[in-house]
Symmetry: C2
Subunit: 220 residues, 2 copies
C-alpha cells in the first residue's frame, strides 16, 4: 500500500512538478491537490492522505495556519511537510512550532523530495535537513555567531533559553545546568521545555542535534 500525498500550493506549476517527481515513485501516490490552505481540511478528511506537502505562502490561508488547523481539528492527522522557497522562510520554525513534521526547499533535488516524503511517512521527523544549515551558511561561514543568532532569531529563543541550550549541547543534565546558572531545577525545566517547543524537538537529544545542525553550537 503506497504512501498517499496531498499537495497544497497556490502555484499550479509547483504542484505539477511535485506530482511528477512523486508519481514517478512506485510506492508514492498523489491523491489530491489544493490551491490554498483554506481548502485543506475538508480534503484531508475526505482523502485521508499519509502526507501533506504544504506551501507556506498562499493567498487565503498560509501554510502555518493551515498546518495548525489540520493538526487541531483532524483526528489521526497526516504528516505535514512544509514547503518553502527559502528566501522568505521566517516561517520555517513557525511551522515546526505548530507541529509540522518537516520542511523542504522547492529547489531541492527530486531524490531529496522523495526521501523527505518517505521519511515523514515512516513517522520520522525531518526537523533539520539542509535548509537550516543553508540558513546558517547564508550568513557567512566566517560569522559563526551571526549565523547562530540568525537561527536563534527564527526560533525565537530568549537569552536564557539560548544559554540553557548551549549547556544542553555540552551534555549537562538539568541539575547541572541549574547549578551552573545558580537557579532551581524547576526553572531549568521550564527553559528546557520552552527550548524543545520552539525548536520543534521532542527531547533534549533532538534539541542538541538541531543545535549542531543549525550551527548554533559548532565543532570548535
Amino acid at each position: 500500500m503506497p504512501i498517499t500525498v496531498l499537495l497544497v500550493d497556490d502555484e499550479p506549476l509547483v504542484r505539477a512538478g511535485l506530482r511528477a517527481v512523486l508519481e514517478a515513485q512506485p510506492d508514492i501516490e498523489v491523491v489530491g491537490e489544493a490551491a490554498d490552505g483554506a481548502a485543506v481540511i475538508p480534503l484531508v478528511r475526505r482523502l485521508r492522505p499519509d502526507v501533506v506537502a504544504m506551501d507556506v505562502r498562499m493567498p487565503l490561508m498560509d501554510g502555518i495556519e493551515a498546518t495548525r488547523a489540520v493538526l487541531r481539528t483532524v483526528e489521526d492527522p497526516p504528516k505535514i511537510i512544509v514547503v518553502t522557497t527559502f528566501e522568505q522562510d521566517e516561517y520555517v520554525y513557525e511551522a515546526l512550532r505548530v507541529g509540522a513534521d518537516g520542511f523542504l526547499l522547492k529547489r531541492a533535488r527530486p531524490a531529496e523530495i522523495v526521501h523527505a516524503v518517505r521519511l515523514v511517512a515512516e513517522g520520522e521527523s525531518l526537523l533539520f535537513p539542509a535548509s537550516v544549515r543553508q540558513l546558517a551558511a547564508e550568513y557567512g561561514e566566517s560569522g559563526g555567531n551571526r549565523a547562530a543568532r540568525a537561527v536563534l532569531d527564527r526560533a525565537g529563543l530568549t537569552g536564557r533559553e539560548a544559554e540553557v541550550l548551549r549547556l544542553m549541547a555540552r551534555g549537562l543534565s538539568n541539575a547541572e545546568i541549574a547549578g551552573r546558572l545558580v537557579v532551581g531545577v524547576e526553572t531549568v525545566k521550564s527553559h528546557v521545555s520552552a527550548v524543545l517547543t520552539k525548536l520543534g524537538a521532542r527531547d533534549r537529544t533532538q534539541a542538541v542535534i538541531v543545535a549542531y545542525e543549525s550551527g548554533f553550537v559548532g565543532l570548535g
Copy 2:
C-alpha cells in the same frame, strides 16, 4: 579553598611544566607528584586531591590501569584527567571507558590545561575536547568515513552498536530504533547501554555529542 591537584607522569619535565602552569593560578594548588601509576593509590589516599592529572604511558603501571585502580579502590575518588601526547593515544577511549573524567593533550595551551582542571573539578566531564576531533582530522578530512571508522575502532563499537548510535544521532527514541532495526526494545536498550559505556557517555545526549564532535556523524 583551592582545587588540589596530584600530578602523575614519569617525565620530570612534564611534571614541572604542569606544576608551573597550574600553580600560576590562585585557585589551584599542586599537592603532590608521582612518577608512576603504581605509586598513585597511597598518594591519593593520603593527599585526597580533587583532581589527578595522569599520564597514559608510564613504566610500571600505565595511566589506564592506575585510573581503574584508583576508581575501584578509593572511596570518594578524585576526578581523573588522562594526559596524552596524542600520537599514541589508542588509550584515549580506553581511559574514558575505565572512568576517567577527561583527557588532555600535552601540547595544549596553558589556558586550556587550567580550564580542563577547573571543569572536571566542578564535576563536569571533558569527554570530547579537541583531541577526538584532531584524531578524526588526522585521518584526512576528505575521508570522513575513514576518520569515523578510526574513532569507532578506538571506542570498540560493534557493527550493531554503531548502527544504533547513528540512529540515536538522528534523534530516534529506543522504540523507534527498535522498529527500524526490527528487533525488540530490550535489545536496543542493550546496545544503547553498550554504546554509552564504550563512549564514556552518561546518557544518549552525551553520546550524540561525541558522535558529532568525533566526526562519526557529520553536518552533511
